[in-house]
Symmetry: C2
Subunit: 581 residues, 2 copies
């Protein structure tokens, strides 16, 4: 490919609304162009990356036995009504009426359509397992689209759906996809982690996110550097920080803490470690009758160590809170504690509440908590002596770096990641809702066991850039770079020798199957180099009259500090040797 | 590829709503699956054809210097309001509101978006010519979707848009695309014609449709077998069938023709050739004031030979009718002719009308027409003697087979076609509406000269099947067949020899870059052969134990009447030799 046959549209400045570096660099490199909020044109330079990402996905999905099809963007509402998602999903599901007033949706995913295909096409257990996937335009009407294509409204996703005869077979399909995803992300050349994720109401442990590591990532990834353990922050298990409760050594004492309504302030005032304090969070659950009216509420007191944060997903799994919970109202708090937030604690309640202690809190002794009296805290608090044992002990906090790994193999570390893939065991959620069955070995109808497997194709671009960039621009891995090698001839439009040598090298590399770009625009060297560094092409060869006279060209990898001189005749072999496998 | 890794879903019966053969065969071959009216899933077998069509298009578009990008499916209404199409387009433009109530459309084409890209990105004449294209999902909310994917609502289209500095350069871009389209359709292996088409308000002669020849096609293609002339029926010029008017030989006579209100009936009654009769069609145009109120109307009498049909497109180009016309009302007709339709004619009018004679009618003598009196016609009618010369003489009819070719090189023939591609010179229609300019050689802003170039990717599938099928199923050309070669082993699951030979042949052909399908399902021969004939794979190799013992396999091309025995060792070479270039 030559630049004159392509479209290069680099810019000096990123637009003001580009908040994150990947958005800024994609705009500057001319890879995307904004059309509306969260809606982008993929310019030729960006589309090349997408196509390479898609090609790798296709190859590995095919290798894993998945079959590609194409499901429509505009889907009839009827199917979405069968699963209830037409009504349940919020405004991020874009709804549209056709000329006859019939309801349709613009697909955000395709569970309903693929389940409809399966219930018609997969009639016998003999046709199973089957895994259908497509790579298609998706739309989610995000409330606040941002970060360029990282949280856009229209995007390209690969979504695959497996159909199996029983949970054991579904687990096997899941493992097959998990392995395929590892190959896919390995081939992208990105640093990533497959982390265990919450399975929600489905249960089990068959849910993993594929997170591209990046300091700017929105997600916290918990992992153990000395073992295989990896999970997202919602799921990562927090063990008790002491294996058993210490003995009481202090007397229960009410202490004035005027104006000190946070654990941190109290710890400073009393000159105690923050880890000696306990914070009180008050939640409520509602009992609802058949008509949907609230007929009663229960108040819950959650106790966490002062330096720990509540994990809402974990709280939502505690018995009694599974059906949904909310923060208690100020009225409920005053009614039960006789005190405003800031000085709450488990001792001296006006009305009984259910007390849930985090595992770590349950093993604390001589701790500090609110006195249920404004401007007072209690110190030297001890379970059993000063207050009854908690109603429940549960893991309700986020892990923090340094926590013991739940597998006992070391301590946990935390890094940031960007979720670009997700493999998930769906069970019979959709097949039951849509009564999608096959005839099993006994000739009886059985519901499909399903899994779904997504990769955010366009999101990969943003994640890759967040992971690897520098002051000069993007640093693509070879496998998904828009071009693998940029040939930059100095004086292409002036020197016949340079032109001949550049053309010959271009043809030689291209014939060798290398995706090469020859910059024949005749730009001056500085501008030309800056463009290809901004665009992030991983390998560059510079030709000049002087170099040719000396029998040398200059090679520089995008991550290299300096150029390497290479004898003219050896350049192709040198470049090939530098390409990542 | 092996069948066990793929998804084959043939059906014995087509659904009742499949009216045309391509729809029936695509459903039966398991290529598409209906999701809603005019909305289809592309099943794995159908998607393979789409991907092959797309690959050919991409290669040839790239060769012609067009650059691929990707424009969004959901597009902000603002751009469509700039060109007025948001309001002007009917309900086939699907409109949708986002969560904030802002208007969007689901793209039917992308002129607005690409022009918006160009006005921002193409700033100088030095960046021209430029041709951007994308292959993307389109939606048109057809009033009556039918014929499967031939007139679906959601479909895939390749649309390209060229930007040039002046009309001469735009014409060059047009020629480049025209040549690329010829290469594309040649490579598809389809019989097609590039036919001149109407340019509407743009004018000029830069509009061609690419029509796939098929007896079932909706469009009539006019061509001259002995010259290059080809045009669609709307455009094809109808010359006068006699070069000059004959002399009057008969007296004007009023003849009773009771109940004979059509030319055909009159000709039979009077025992005259139909070509001696003239039919009268009454049109009207309205004069409208600034407020849009109709302030006056003009009635037009169109005269056509009794065996000719009116061409509305041509009528719309006649001076005075260009602004739009309609059929006259019964009231207007009675008011001007004093007679109901069926016996109308140009003689003895109650009020003056504008008379337009088709070129052929203008040269007729002694003709027959209505007498403007119920149940009476006039015979022996002659221009000049019995009525004044027509106000206008124009080409207002469809050509018929046997008409002289307008290039004087022979006579015209007509065949049916299916429009699958269109190249069109747009001029400055969109660039002016959106004020899309570049700086020309003098440093002044100038509007882009544009062209647009579409190929209905999914429609190609239907058209190819309409063109080539038989009682057993589809007959694909090699280039776009879902698989090029089907290996059908008899007893794959029973005979180790058959399995080994089939696997070896599969691997050999695959290694040679041939798209081969090995049917390893273990189906009985009849069902297996029927499947691949229905699916339309162009080359088949059958292996059996008996054949292997004799050292022979059977090859049969999809169009061949019988199989050919081929020595085992020569099969690969034999198949390769049979592949279309």
């Amino acid at each position: 490919m030559k630049a004159s046959q392509f479209f290069i549209a680099t810019q000096k400045e990123a637009p003001a609304d580009a908040e994150v570096v990947s958005h800024q660099l994609m705009m500057r490199a001319g890879m995307i162009k904004r059309l509306g909020a969260g809606i982008y044109n993929y310019m030729p330079m960006g589309l090349r990356v997408i196509r390479k990402v898609e090609a790798i996905i296709r190859e590995e999905m095919g290798r894993a036995g998945a079959v590609e099809m194409l499901m429509p963007v505009v889907q009839p509402a009827e199917l979405w009504q069968e699963t209830g998602r037409f009504d349940k999903m919020g405004p991020e599901l874009m709804r549209v009426k056709d000329r006859h007033g019939r309801d349709f949706i613009i697909q955000p995913t395709s569970e309903e359509v693929v389940t409809d295909v399966a219930r018609q096409e997969l009639r016998s257990y003999k046709q199973l397992p089957k895994n259908f996937y497509h790579i298609q335009t998706k739309f989610r009407d995000e409330r606040r689209p941002r970060f360029g294509i990282m949280r856009g409204r229209e995007f390209t996703m690969k979504d695959a759906y497996s159909f199996d005869r029983n949970p054991a077979a579904a687990a096997k399909s899941y493992e097959t996809m998990f392995a395929a995803y590892k190959r896919i992300f390995d081939r992208f050349g990105l640093q990533y982690r497959a982390v265990a994720a919450d399975t929600g109401a489905i249960g089990g442990d068959l849910s993993h996110e594929f997170q591209v590591i990046a300091d700017t990532g929105e997600d916290a990834i918990v992992y153990c550097p000395t073992s295989d353990y990896a999970a997202n922050i919602e799921l990562a298990e927090a063990v008790a920080l002491s294996s058993e409760r210490g003995a009481a050594t202090q007397a229960l004492t009410k202490t004035a803490t005027p104006g000190k309504s946070t654990c941190a302030d109290v710890a400073v005032l009393l000159d105690l470690p923050l880890a000696q304090t306990v914070k009180s969070l008050v939640m409520a659950t509602d009992e609802v009758n058949d008509k949907g009216d609230i007929v009663g509420s229960t108040v819950w007191l959650l106790l966490l160590r002062g330096d720990h944060d509540m994990n809402e997903v974990k709280v939502g799994k505690v018995e009694g809170l599974k059906g949904g919970f909310r923060f208690a109202t100020l009225g409920e708090i005053e009614d039960h504690f006789g005190c405003k937030p800031g000085y709450l604690g488990p001792i001296g309640l006006k009305k009984p509440v259910k007390v849930i202690a985090d595992r770590t809190v349950a093993n604390m002794a001589d701790f500090v908590c609110g006195a249920n009296e404004p401007d007072f805290h209690l110190t030297g608090v001890n379970w059993g002596r000063d207050l009854p044992e908690p109603d429940l002990v549960a893991d309700i906090r986020n892990v923090v770096a340094g926590d013991p790994s739940p597998d006992g193999q070391g301590v946990l570390a935390i890094q940031r990641g960007i979720e670009v893939g997700h493999v998930f065991y769906l069970g019979t959620k959709y097949s039951k809702a849509m009564n999608a069955t096959f005839l099993d070995e006994t000739g009886k109808p059985a519901h499909f066991e399903m899994g779904c497997y997504g990769i955010g194709v366009t999101r990969i671009l943003g994640a890759a850039i967040e992971q690897a960039h520098d002051a000069r621009g993007i640093v693509w891995p070879d496998a998904i770079a828009p071009f693998t090698v940029a040939i930059c001839p100095i004086g292409y439009d002036r020197s016949a020798d340079v032109k001949a040598a550049a053309d010959a090298l271009h043809d030689e590399l291209q014939a060798a199957g290398i995706d090469v770009m020859l910059d024949d625009r005749g730009e001056r060297p500085g501008a030309m180099f800056a463009d290809w560094e901004l665009i992030g092409v991983p390998h560059r060869v510079v030709l000049s009259d002087r170099g040719l006279k000396e029998g040398q060209l200059e090679y520089q990898g995008r991550r290299d500090a300096a150029a390497t001189k290479v004898p003219t005749g050896e350049v192709a072999a040198f470049v090939k040797a530098r390409l990542q496998a």
